[in-house]
Every structure is written in C-alpha cells, then in structure tokens.
Symmetry: C2
Subunit: 169 residues, 2 copies
DNA sequence: ACGTCTGATGAGAATCATTCCCAAATCACT
DNA sequence: AGTGATTTGGGAATGATTCTCATCAGACGT
C-alpha cells in the first residue's frame, strides 16, 4: 500500500469515460458561477456523458455511464437543469422518467426529438428552416390569443425506431 | 325501508356530475367491444369527466371529479388508453404524472397543447392548417431518413399561463 | 325472472423512481 | 498550501403507480 491516497473515488475505474470538451467546460463554468455552483468531477463526468451521447439520456443511463451515485446524479442533473446547462426533456408518454441532454447553447443547435414509443429511446433530428419559421409565427400568435407567455416549444415525432421494428416483425 | 336496493354505489352522491354524450357513448361502445371491455358506470363517469373538461386532466383530477376510487381510475384510464378511447398526454416536463383526454376520434378534432411550466395545467389549441400541412411533410421525410416509423407527432407550446403570470408578478 | 359466468371493482400491499437528510469530505479560490 | 462554503453519498422518507385477489355486478341465455 505504497502511499495509497485515500480520496473519495470521484472517477472510479471502469470503461474509458469520455472527457468534457474544453469549450463546453469553459461555457459551463460561466453559467455556473453566478449560482455559486462548482464544476466538480462528478458534474464534469455527467456533462461529459451527455455531450458524448448526443441524445437525451435517462437518469439511469447517466448514473451508469458517469459513475456518479444515484442521489448525486439526480441532484446534479436537477441543479444543472436549473442553471440552464442541461435540458430536461420528456421521454415516451407513459414511460416514467425524464431524460436529460446538454442545453442547446452548450451543445450544437436547435433540434427536435424522435421518440420510440416502444423502447423509449430518444434521438435528435433537425427541423427544416421552413417549419421552424412557421412554428415561430404560430407561437407569436398564441401569445396574443391564449394569454400564455410562451417560452419554448416542443415538436416531437413519435413512432417505432428501426431496432424495435426489425426486432418484432 | 321501502325496497332499498343494496347495490354497490357506482355514482355516489355529490356535486352534479356531467353525463357522457350519447354520440360518444355509442362510439366508445364500438371501440370497447372487440376487447371485451364493458362500458361500466365508472368508465362512463371517467369519460364524461374528460369530455366535459375539454382539456387533459391528471389522474387526481379524474379521481375527484368522477368519484371512482384511485385504483379503479388508474386501471380504467390505462385500459381506455389501450383501447384508443382516451389519449395519454405529457404534462409539464419534470411534473410527475401523465394527463388524459378523450382521444381525437371521440372528441372534436386534431389539436395541440399549451402547457404551463409553472402550475402544469394544459390547454388545447388548434394549429393552423398551414402548419399542420408542413408538419405532415416533415414527418413523411423523417420516415425516410431516420428509420423511425412515425405514428404521430406532438407539438406543444410551453410557457406561463395567464393565472400564473398575474399571480406572481 | 333467475342462474351463470365473465369482466369489474376496491382496499391495501407492493413496487419503483425520486427526493430528502446531514455528517463528513472535498475542492475552488485566494 | 490553507480554509470555508459546497458537494457528496448511503439510506431513509416520500409519492405516485401498479398489483393482488376476494368479492361483486351485469349481460345473456333459458
């Protein structure tokens, strides 16, 4: 036991874990500062996992991929969502549990979701500019007619993913 | 005790409960038949409540408004959803619990949802025909490019409803 | 009308995800 | 390198949803 440093294991041994890209790390730091949140190893790991996935993950997926304990993963995801660094997105209706992905300012671009109603997996897709423009117009109209102050919109397509289709048919 | 019939109380005394419209009842009967599901008083009450509400309700709202016991309400909503008579819709992301409304063939028309991110209430709104057409086109494209067999789409606008806006500002 | 038989009911137990708790450890920052 | 506010984590607590199963209602044939 040569100088075994007893540190709380923040990055347990295991399959190679992705690293958070420096660009995202810097932006995240800025976003966390005003809330006095630190970019700890666990938070870094959680964000790295989300960045690498490129699609919304369940809490369970994050727990397994990041190595963070369950309670820490839940807490961090909630805090990061609150800080606007990650986005909480809905999975398949009826499936319990939200999913999380890097918020748009920290990932690539505006996108929408393809949700598999069978296995619950969620993939990203990019909407056409034309659709996006029309949605914007509709949203502006809703502000006027409904009394709702619209902050964002969700356009998800639901169906069966390729895997589920080939699996049982 | 003049002929007090002892029947299980299926419509407990209480505030006037809405009745299910005959047209919907007939259509529902047809939909339930192949599954050997009966249109019992509780199911009728649940459906009547959904029909009267005209917006997606939480299980709790259904329980209170219909008088059905919790376990019965959950069971019936799940069965009716399975049968395609009611639709399970997502509420605010992060809010636990799906909501239910009459499925489109049994209610009025195709519509979308306005979700309040603060109190979770969900209202219906009608999309413009133009938007709807463009969505259809986009969905058709997704089938080709993603491998997903799209069954339906969700276009929800999220924001703060009039009540929440006036309440805390 | 009456029996019969299948589907429905409902109270509580069981399950499961999520949140809470708080003493102890850690890390970001000077 | 020190240090104090923040984070951690294991387990308990909470809450929603589902399950169980003995009992009941209702449709149907006779």
């Amino acid at each position: 036991m040569a100088g075994t440093r007893r540190t709380r294991r923040s990055a347990p041994a295991g399959p190679a874990r992705p690293a958070l890209s420096p660009a995202v790390a810097a932006a995240v730091l800025t976003a966390l500062a005003p809330r006095e949140l630190r970019l700890t190893p666990h938070r870094r790991a959680v964000l790295a996992v989300l960045e690498a996935a490129g699609r919304p993950l369940t809490v369970d997926e994050v727990v397994h991929a990041s190595g963070a304990p369950t309670s820490t993963a839940y807490r961090n995801l909630a805090e990061l969502a609150e800080a606007g660094v990650v986005a909480r997105v809905a999975g398949a209706v009826g499936a319990s549990g939200d999913r999380f992905e890097l918020a748009e300012p920290f990932s690539h671009r505006h996108h929408h979701h393809l949700v598999c109603t069978e296995c619950g997996v969620v993939a990203d897709f990019d909407p056409s500019g034309e659709l996006e423009r029309l949605i914007e117009r509709e949203v502006a109209e809703l502000l006027a007619t409904s009394g709702f102050e619209i902050t964002h919109h969700v356009f998800d397509a639901h169906g069966r993913c390729r895997d589920c289709r080939t699996a049982d048919r």
